[in-house]
Homo-oligomer: 203 residues x 2
Amino acid sequence: MSPKKMDEKAILDAAAEEFAELGFSGARVDAIAKRAGINKAMLYYRIGDKEELYRRVVLRGQAGIQSAMMNAVAASTTATETMVSILTGIAENAAENRLMPSIILRELAGNAKTLPEEGRDGIRKFMDAVRLLVTTGVEEGTFRNIDPTALQFIVTGAVFMLSLTKEMRQELYPDNPGPVTAEQISEALNDIISHGILREGAE
Amino acid sequence: MSPKKMDEKAILDAAAEEFAELGFSGARVDAIAKRAGINKAMLYYRIGDKEELYRRVVLRGQAGIQSAMMNAVAASTTATETMVSILTGIAENAAENRLMPSIILRELAGNAKTLPEEGRDGIRKFMDAVRLLVTTGVEEGTFRNIDPTALQFIVTGAVFMLSLTKEMRQELYPDNPGPVTAEQISEALNDIISHGILREGAE
DNA sequence: GTCTATACGCGGATAGAC
DNA sequence: GTCTATCCGCGTATAGAC
């Protein structure tokens, strides 16, 4: 990889942190430059203005999530397996860096008004994949005929929120914070999502 | 209700909209004043500075959610009933105004760093209620022994995200947007949460 | 209590030296 | 390619007239 690309990566990493912590309007270009170890003029020279910076961060992050998901799908055979792969994939991704969850939640909060145009394609691809997954599972006979949209947001919503509240929960309930590691999160969620909360026969 | 309080309500409503749409740093005090139909100086005279404005909005919103939830719990007898009441209560609340979901998601995205101190109490109360609910359900014999934290964030995460993505989904999939009304949302979620996605006997 | 006019600092962006 | 110095508009906040 060329040194130029290396530099870009460092800048985008810094920008991702800043945007995740403070949002687009809260983020400071000077702060991003400082985090990246360069000065502001250099940042403008290399990448462009604040909007372009944000665009790059979002698209790079989406690409990462998407490829992680595609790998999970490719490595699985049955619908059940795929479902678990996607869940654990997202949980691992979200736990190891909470940058994208933060940015995505902020986007949703603002009706995705600041989402770059190309970003919509990524969302559509994800939704299509989940729809296909559910159809397959129903045809296989392993899935109930559930709403795929509901499933998608149960998974993403819960994973993102559990990841982002990790510290808060550890503060509020030091000796019983609930699931914190990626493994704990995906296990706890998979238990509920797969089997529901009701005991067999109960209603 | 005194006219003074009436005015305050109009201001806080306007502020809630602005904060929800744009976040704390994105929100403009001038815009809030304009939305409320007064000028900026008047706003400072009546409420205070931007931070105080935000504090009031968050605490008022939390109180609303909390009382809605407490009512749902009080009106139910079994754990299953309570669980459904809470789910539909949150879904209705979120669907009729998405202001608090937006504000809450932004808070989570920023690690609740801008959350007013008193706001933490509200969170703790909610979490305690869910824990009690699960314990009761397990004792009743109707609930499996699930992780209460996971359940809480499955419910809130999914409801918030489904509510906030309503328009986006209608744009992306005009003839199959998934659940959009409060009723559709709570039904689709309840189906999965109660019974899981797997058919009986399938694994 | 209400409003206009203004102070003032902060932050995005760039000019221009090297 | 790199950096310092600076511009300039925007947004919070308030002074002060009425």
